[in-house]
Structure formats: structure tokens, C-alpha cells
Amino acid sequence: MSSSHPAWTERLEGVRPPRRHEGLLEVIGATPLVRLRSVTRDLADGVEVWVKMESMNPGGSVKDRPARQIIKDALDRGDLGNGKILLDATSGNTGIAYAMIGASLGIPVHLVMPENVSPQRKEIVEVYGAKIVYSDPMEGSDGAIRLARKLVEEDEEGLYYYADQYHNPSNPRAHQLTTAPEIWAQTGGRVTHFVASTGTSGTVMGTGRGLRERSSTVRIVGSQPADAFHGLEGLKHMPSSLKPGIYKEDELDEIRWIETEDGWDMAETLAKEEGIACGNSAGANVVAALEVARELTEGVVVTVICDHADRYFGE
């Protein structure tokens, strides 16, 4: 069978060696980098846009990387282990990653979530045996953070290890150590722009640092919801939010502001035109990446598909 469609590459035939792993934690990372072929039609010939398929991690999202690093570093320091409970505030994907990794290592996990997260999210977390503590849905992810802090303050017996993904340097470090070198290798050192939306900001901060270690010219672009009142799950409008301690705005070359509806529409377009069914925050990432790409005559722009659309089905 032959086709002139650019997605139909000659490399589809032939066997690529499947990976084998000694344990689940090894499966995290080493995700594929895929070139977008349809939504990029209007770009200059010398401009490429590639997406890192973080949805293909075993927990289904980019958050497997920081969760693994946070748990590993805490175990190395002795902050976890001996039955201590990992506690954190999470709107979903990080919680799923903690729950999965916690299950595989025998570490108990308690998660604070706004009560309006989808029933499906609650079920995924609970299937791994994690416990959910609900916070006020009107107060969003910041309400979950405040409740987690209160639980830690009142924890006189020292039951909890507070993972605090918003302030934990292991979060960006995960991306500096793994995501960045992968992108560098997968683009053959050709990457010119890395674009990612900010929730905890771990992805853009850590990947940015890792790429800058390898390139003095790479540009690091953050993107955010255009308004405090938005529907881009997992993302933060920084000017109106509790600012994550790991967020260093001066390390970004620029910031793009994304409307909720544009992110939602792009997620739909990616499914229909690229065959990549992803969540809305990935849609926002691609909106920002295409904005950047449209201003170039030459360049290799990389962004992230944070998770798969099926995580949001049934909401």
C-alpha cells in the first residue's frame, strides 16, 4: 500500500525492537516524539512542529515523570518509607501518577482534590488504592493546596510526607534529567523552541533548563490561560493564582496567553485531523506552539501532549 500523505512514512514497515523492563517505574519516559502533519499546513516550509507523546506514559500523563522523581528523591532522603503517607494537592494527573507509583512500591498515598473533579478521575485513583480528601470545588486547585497545607500543619504525629509538587524541586528536575535529553536526542539537536503551558510549571522549567544546558540559542516559551476564570484543566493563570515556588518567570523567553475555547477547539482538531486525541491542556500547548511556529521561517518547535482525551470522557 502506498500513499502520498506525509504521515505515511517509509519507516512504517519493518520491526522496531519492543522494550523490556525490570519494573513499572522503568516504563516512565522515553516517550515518542511525533511530527504534526495536518494542523501545520499553513506554516513555512522550513518550520516543523513536533509533539512529545507524554500521554503514552504508563499512568497516561506527563505527570508520571515528576511523581517518580519526587518519590525517588524523598525515599533517598528518608522522607518516605517506613509507612509514611505521601500527601499532595492535585487536580488529577499527578494524583494518578502518585497512586500508580505508590501502589507499585507499597507507599500509601492520600490526595486532596477539589470535589468537582470528574468521577472517572476519582475512580482511577481509588483503583490504585489511594485515598481522596475533598476540598471546596468553588476554590479550585488553590483550595486543594490550602487544605493540604492545613492537614500537614495539623499532623502532629508525623504521618505525612507532603510532596508539594508546586514547590518541590524534584518536579522540574525530572524534566531536566529526562524530558530535555530525550527531546535533544529525538530532534538530533535541531530543536529551536520548546513550548509548554504552566500548571505547576515543572515541565517548562525543567525541560527549559535541560535544553539550555545543550543549546545557547533554544527559546523557552511558557503559555497560560488568558483569564483567571478558565477551563483549561491543570493549568494556572499565574497573575491570579498562588504562584508555584518552582515557577521562575525570568527563565522564560516569552509567555503566550491562551483562551479556553481555543485550547478546547485545538484538542478536538488534533483528534480529528492528526489522530491524536488529547486533553485540553495539550490543545492549549499546540495552540501556543503553532502561534510561535507561524512567526518563523525556519525552526523546530516542540511541545507536549500532556495526556489522552479518554481521561476526560464521561465528564
Binding site: 476554590e139 488553590d142 476564570f229 479556553t260
Partner: protein, 93 residues
């Protein structure tokens, strides 16, 4: 009749910090229209240009999503509670 509308944290800057605003309205649509008349900056946050509720905004009447009731026509009684909840929320410290 008078109902209470609960305002999510990121929109309270348009209601002088009020968590709840009392408005008149026999339906959810009427209550929200009166709310956006008294607080015009809320209009573009809640409604799109065609007058529909923006896709990512969920409206609850007495803890029940109006999409599963009669949408903006959902009837209200004296003292009912209408909540505006984003599909998710950023929040304000």
C-alpha cells in the same frame, strides 16, 4: 423572587469580593441576566457572544447541573441557590 448566586473565587473581583449576590429571577437565565446587568464585567466571563453559557462554565441550581435540568429555563423558587463553577478553577490566593 430573590435567589442567591454563588460566585467562584476568580470572578469575585467583579462583585467587590462578595461570595454570594442576591438577584431577582424566576429562572436560571433570568437570574444570570440580572446578575450581569448589575455586574456588567461578568457578562463576557459567563456568556459567549451568541448569548449561550460558555462551554467551560457549569451552572448549578441547588447543586444540580442545569444541563440535566431545563438549562437556562430551569425554574427557581424563593431562596434557591445558583452556583457558577468553571469546569476547573485557577483560583485566587
Amino acid at each position: 423572587m430573590t435567589v442567591q448566586v454563588r460566585i467562584p473565587t476568580p470572578l469575585r473581583k467583579f462583585t467587590a469580593g462578595q461570595e454570594e449576590v442576591a438577584v431577582e429571577g424566576a429562572t436560571v437565565g433570568e437570574a444570570l441576566m440580572n446578575l450581569t446587568e448589575s455586574h456588567p464585567e461578568l457578562k463576557s466571563k459567563i456568556f459567549s457572544d451568541d448569548g449561550a453559557v460558555r462551554r467551560f462554565v457549569n451552572i448549578f441550581a441547588n447543586d444540580e447541573d442545569i444541563r440535566f435540568q431545563e438549562k437556562l429555563e430551569t425554574p427557581l423558587s424563593e431562596g434557591d441557590l445558583v452556583s457558577i463553577v468553571p469546569a476547573i478553577a485557577g483560583g485566587r490566593s
